[in-house]
Assembly symmetry: C2
Homo-oligomer: 237 residues x 2
């Protein structure tokens, strides 16, 4: 089999590059100490993330006009705070908490793996996060993206085809010259159906210690790697 | 006077960051040697660049639908080649020559100045170049952009307001939190009218040794700097 001529790597971000759950829990526990409260931030993080797909789905279906993820996150947060006894948080505190998504920390192999992959390919995000979220996160966590693509610049939330195809087009590339990298089978299945190459990198604790899905590659992807360093090595090979 | 709270710097690219004229002449002279031809590449570069504003104007006015700069450059190139006795260039040669805009070289102070400004502010392009052009140039010339904004992601060619305002909005910032950096008075006048801060950095040989415009700041900009290092120092001050 000839190797695909991959010019660019498109990365899912939440879960694939950064550990959103541990990052939210970490900031939450600091809030517990600072405010003298006792919120279960693991439950909080899971509930918040659980509102993510339904919120985007209302945009995907056209039930509401284009809305960036910062706004969807904030609406979910405002719904969630009373359930955790945090309805007293004022506007600056809510805004700061909502921006925890701009301060997510990468998995240990991510930054080094990205730097290595960047030597030979364009590395761009293809995330449902909005531009400022991904740009601020990149600066906060030293992620060396060549470009932030995905939802906001294409106005399509994954897995809508436009999110992948318009991202490839903006790089001046055909779909098959791009490889979608994700820890989620559903993301890769959508990309593969559009002609992109695919790379699965499992993040088996993304949803905590009891995660029972996305533990293994469920399809015949172009690459299956243990982490970003392994993926970089396979791409060089 | 209180200093403006500038969170992001938006950079014009052609002429401000990179020396398009010398870059095109340099590649052209190499073509002369390789192909045994004798084209005057200074004249060629000026003629090619001279077709830039009229080509974008047809998009700005709506006379033609949204079209990226790579395509406009290529149309201008195809018009120009016969005038210089180069109508025999085949498709790969034309494509390669057209992509000289992806391989422009920075002014000597640009990369170091950008790296320094990036320490304290978001640095993004606000160029009429399309995404792949600016991304490929960044990789070719080691320009450490946080983000590529401007024409293609906003679908507005400068000086249309949307090119500036949508770029600021994607960074999650108000216009006054952004500073447009350019070697061109017209670009800064447009940005200033929309509420952005402005920084003029003269590039007095952008159009060659006889350049007689954009030599000095013609308005009361927020910053006037001799080069990117000077601008970085003023921003830190």
């Amino acid at each position: 089999m000839t190797k695909p001529d991959i010019r660019a790597l498109l990365f899912d971000v939440f879960g694939t590059v950064v550990d959103w759950r541990a990052s939210i829990v970490g900031e939450g526990l600091a809030m517990n100490r600072r405010l003298g409260i006792d919120v279960d931030w693991e439950v909080f993080a899971d509930r918040w993330r659980g509102m993510y797909q339904p919120a985007m789905e209302r945009v995907r279906t056209g039930e509401r006009p284009w809305t960036i993820l910062d706004v969807l996150h904030r609406e979910s947060l405002d719904t969630l705070l009373p359930e955790f006894g945090l309805d007293h948080l004022d506007e600056p505190a809510r805004d700061r908490l909502n921006r925890v998504w701009h301060r997510l920390r990468p998995w240990p192999d991510a930054a080094a793996g990205l730097a290595r992959m960047k030597e030979t390919r364009v590395i761009a995000t293809c995330s449902n996060g909005n531009v400022s979220l991904v740009v601020n996160m990149a600066r906060f966590s030293s992620l060396p993206w060549d470009m932030v693509l995905g939802a906001e610049v294409t106005r399509h939330y994954k897995p809508q085809p436009g999110a992948y195809l318009e991202s490839a087009r903006m790089l001046g590339l055909a779909p098959e010259q791009c490889c979608m990298v994700a820890a989620h089978n559903s993301d890769l299945v959508a990309a593969e159906a559009l002609g992109l190459a695919t790379a699965f990198v499992p993040r088996p604790t993304e949803y905590g210690p009891d995660q029972d899905f996305d533990l293994v590659a469920e399809n015949d992807y172009t690459y299956v790697a243990t982490d970003f360093i392994d993926l970089a090595e396979q791409l060089e090979g």
